[in-house]
Symmetry: C2
Subunit: 552 residues, 2 copies
């Protein structure tokens, strides 16, 4: 199997280009129909997309935030005549395994949410200018924008034809965003999702599907004017200099993936991976200028990028690995000094970007279908930002005291401000708030312990770790736990984790991953979609699908 690589850069894009006009960037989708991710198996006609197209989009959204402080509004549009985007490529879906379909949908959902995160938190506000038909995933991409414009040319429409055409759901956030973001009436949503050809013109505005329609003759000017107007709402800095996201160095060996500060070791026999994140080599920079000079070598940014790539790599390329151990290695004070720096520099646009990038990376962990077990041992640095790894884990084990022959201090968790507000989960709460939903008063106790190393027995007492063992028991307890975990049904673990990780409130984001995605995954298993007579299999053959009529 070819390794799916999430690393790319604009010079390598085959499907997107970016054009700049002062404070506006045009992100132009112009899919190379011969550029499918795994070669010639399907053609990416009509600006339809596969994972490869979305990897470039994700990269572009990311780079615009870091490399272009001057951009205050991003316009997504099509580089093709007469079509905006036909959505996910159906042939690709038809040929994909269940795991590939689910992984594809997850990543595209994360990218749409990253667009919304950029509008909200980077004030790089996205608008979508639909110049042609936007169907299925094409319209779902538009739904990620803050403002949707549709050309009024008597042809261009927005549509979610997945259910009538393909017997699957508009699962890249479509159903959730039309009701919860666009706040479309549910009965109209029901009608809209049944109309293959979609809705256009004034009715699309009336039904809240788009924000405005513009005659063809005025289209280009209207889009530019709207973009510049929306740009004025942004608080991005004047005259700032961006930093370049350089190529992420990574070495892949048979059972090891090595980055500068992150390492994955794989034990295929046991179905395990261990991810180790290394703390910074030194204290934080002395000034924002000094941090800027570090570029993407500024430690928090390096870690965000490397950890993100490691997670995506494990998801796509190591599906048989079900359990991931999370370790850290380094100096807790150096981690906390970087957190402190991020906190003090919070008004700075770039430091804000770094913090939100870390937030998104931790969120990727939350929706990754692997069991995460944090191991907190001497030499580790589960402090502040890196302590989030322990709180994102399904379980954490902490060593009590020291190990014979190891003169390092006992393991400690050190809380920092970062744990109390930097990194909300998709449910809108921090991981500590979610963890202590039943004992909110504990959060105050914990805040009072900020900056103080908390060793194993006390950490267990305070509920910060799941289990604490002395060296004498550690190996056996860990071995038994891992043997047990890897013996369970991977599906049951995925379903269990998808529920237990998200206590408390639900948001549009958690509804997309919880409700919508789960139903879509179910449908992706049903013969009516994927059977030999199913709609996904027969699409494009001219043969109509045959559906079992039973309602479940």
């Amino acid at each position: 199997m070819t390794v799916i690589d999430y690393r790319t850069d604009p010079a390598s894009y085959r499907h997107w280009r970016i054009e700049f006009d002062g404070d506006v960037a045009y992100l132009i989708m112009d899919v190379d129909q011969a550029g499918a991710l795994n070669g010639g198996e399907y053609e990416l006609k009509l600006n339809s997309y596969d994972l490869g197209v979305d990897i470039e989009l994700n990269d572009a959204v990311q780079r615009l935030r870091f490399e272009h402080p001057e951009v205050r509004c991003v316009v997504i549009q099509s580089g093709k005549d007469n079509v905006f985007c036909a959505g996910a490529n159906i042939r690709m879906l038809g040929k994909s395994t269940h795991q590939q379909k689910v992984n594809f949908c997850k990543f595209t959902n994360e990218t749409r949410l990253a667009i919304e995160d950029a509008s909200e938190n980077s004030r790089q506000i996205y608008i979508c200018a639909i110049n042609g038909n936007a169907a299925g995933g094409g319209y779902e991409l538009a739904l990620a924008a803050d403002h949707i414009m549709l050309v009024d040319d008597r042809r261009s429409a927005v549509a979610l034809p997945e259910t009538p055409l393909l017997a699957v759901l508009p699962g890249t956030g479509g159903l959730t965003r039309i009701t919860d973001k666009r706040k479309m009436r549910r009965d109209r949503a029901d009608v809209f999702c049944s109309i293959e050809e979609g809705i256009r013109g004034a009715k699309a505005v009336e039904w809240r599907l788009v924000d405005e329609v513009v005659p063809n003759s005025k289209w280009k000017d209207a889009v530019a004017a709207r973009a510049h107007e929306i740009a004025t709402r942004s608080d991005r800095p004047k005259g700032a200099k961006g930093i370049k996201l350089t190529s992420l160095p990574r070495a892949i060996e048979a059972d090891r993936v090595t980055y500068s500060h992150v390492e994955i070791e794989i034990d295929r026999v046991r179905g395990l991976a261990a991810v180790t994140v290394r703390g910074p080599a030194a204290e934080a920079p002395v000034s924002i200028a000094a941090a800027l000079a570090l570029g993407d070598q500024f430690w928090p940014l390096t870690v965000a990028r490397e950890l993100e790539d490691a997670i995506l790599h494990l998801r796509s390329n190591e599906p048989a690995i079900g359990v991931v151990l999370l370790r850290t290695d380094g100096d807790a004070q150096a981690v906390l000094s970087h957190d402190e720096f991020l906190l003090k520099a919070d008004g700075d646009w770039l430091m804000r970007e770094v913090r939100h990038y870390l937030k998104r990376t931790f969120k990727r962990l939350d929706v990754t279908p692997k069991s995460f077990i944090a191991l907190i041992e001497p030499g580790s640095c589960f402090a502040g930002t890196l302590a989030e790894l322990a709180f994102a884990a399904d379980r954490s084990l902490m060593l009590i005291g020291t190990r014979e022959g190891d003169n390092r201090a006992p393991a400690a968790i050190t809380l920092g401000q970062a744990n109390f507000d930097f990194y909300p989960m998709g449910n809108g709460l921090t991981r500590l708030q979610t963890r202590f939903l039943g004992e909110p008063q504990l959060l105050d106790t914990l805040k009072g312990r900020t900056g103080q190393p908390i060793e194993a027995e006390e950490a267990a007492e305070l509920g910060l770790v799941t289990l604490a063992y002395e060296d004498f028991d550690w190996n056996d307890e860990l071995r038994i736990m891992l043997e047990e975990r890897t013996s369970f049904s991977p599906d049951a673990m995925t379903g269990m984790e998808a529920n237990l990780r998200f206590a408390g409130p639900e948001t549009m984001e958690t509804k997309i991953f919880g409700r919508l995605t789960a139903w879509q995954n179910w449908i992706f298993q049903r013969p009516n979609a994927i059977g030999e007579q199913g709609a996904l299999k027969l699409y494009g053959t001219g043969v109509s699908p045959t559906f079992a009529k039973e309602r479940v």
Copy 2:
């Protein structure tokens, strides 16, 4: 196929008995192991349950509310020595079709929620006294109670062993209630759900799994004392007289089911059913005493019972019917007069019960996997309570004007107070609030129109109906819509409706039906659970399941 009948009464129970002690009722689970729903296919050992057991539980919960105003606390306990309840019967699950499994889980979830609704809204507060092991669905039943007691006999434990033993989820609310109701820490929940033998004694309290443990020697007295103490928190009336829920008359013919005020007509060729609800024959009673004298013939109660049975019948016994038309027939003023009566009598315990019963019935519609289309025509009475049917529907069609040869007045929708607060959905909002999430100001406009008949064109204008047609177009438009709807994949429709019906906030209840249920349904399709080598198939054979290791 034998018809599954949801109607029962205490004299017919095989699995439960009720004992009364002043203001406390003991609801005792004592499952007849030879009493499986479809005869001898499996034995209901160890107080395990199937749909038949739960039908009796649902009936008991319902009757306690209406027939026993004096009961202020209900204690669920086991009538067997050494076991509380082993959960859903695994052999039954192994032999069930996918549709049967899903339908079974849905109904049991509704029953658990009805228990919580009784505690909260009838102030008939449930406690669970676990005298023996409570495993899987057994502990999930306990989780529905407000207060959980566990005997401390060094054996009795609570457990959710579904994932390790069966490769499925604790899907009857289990995962959701431990994190969102019991507010257990997610890492402990993760550990708990992996321990086959469960957790007992003081640790069960520390982990928030139960509220108290009591030594065996003091058990009976402690349960009685706790029950009477909790009974004092109730506002149920002193000296009131309950009403008897008499046997619900129903006639089933090949393509028709007839109740006194509800009728189902089935068109098997087209895959359609039409449900007609008839309004009251007269104005509301003149006093609460007069309503009481009507017993279960009080129209709102009759409708709640009959419509509920009709919905359950369609779900269980007519899975091939995918689309249900909703009609009403009668006098709008008579409906509104009953609503008015319910509103004025809101302080009365019995009228409160009636209103909550209607609420629960409408909620059953919301989670029923059928497409509902309300047809609003001359002679109908979509007013107040019955207008909820139109708002619960996926779409509504309204006839403009009159029909040739029909001298009845044009169809109208008449809003009443009932539509603005009587019947919240699972998401905590009324159907109108959910409908107008994007235009909340419309709710004020609509409140101003309370009591005034709104005819088709205006109703469409106000967003109360989806489509309005004149007689000339009605038949064709409806025929085309129904042909289209019934041609779609039933699975895609179920998934679409499960998303579009619940805009806005999520609650524990919607999380159970949306997130947890959807993941469980997915797992119920996966070979690791249901394949020849899957855990559900092999359970009890002594052969270990073989799992595909891929993580999805």
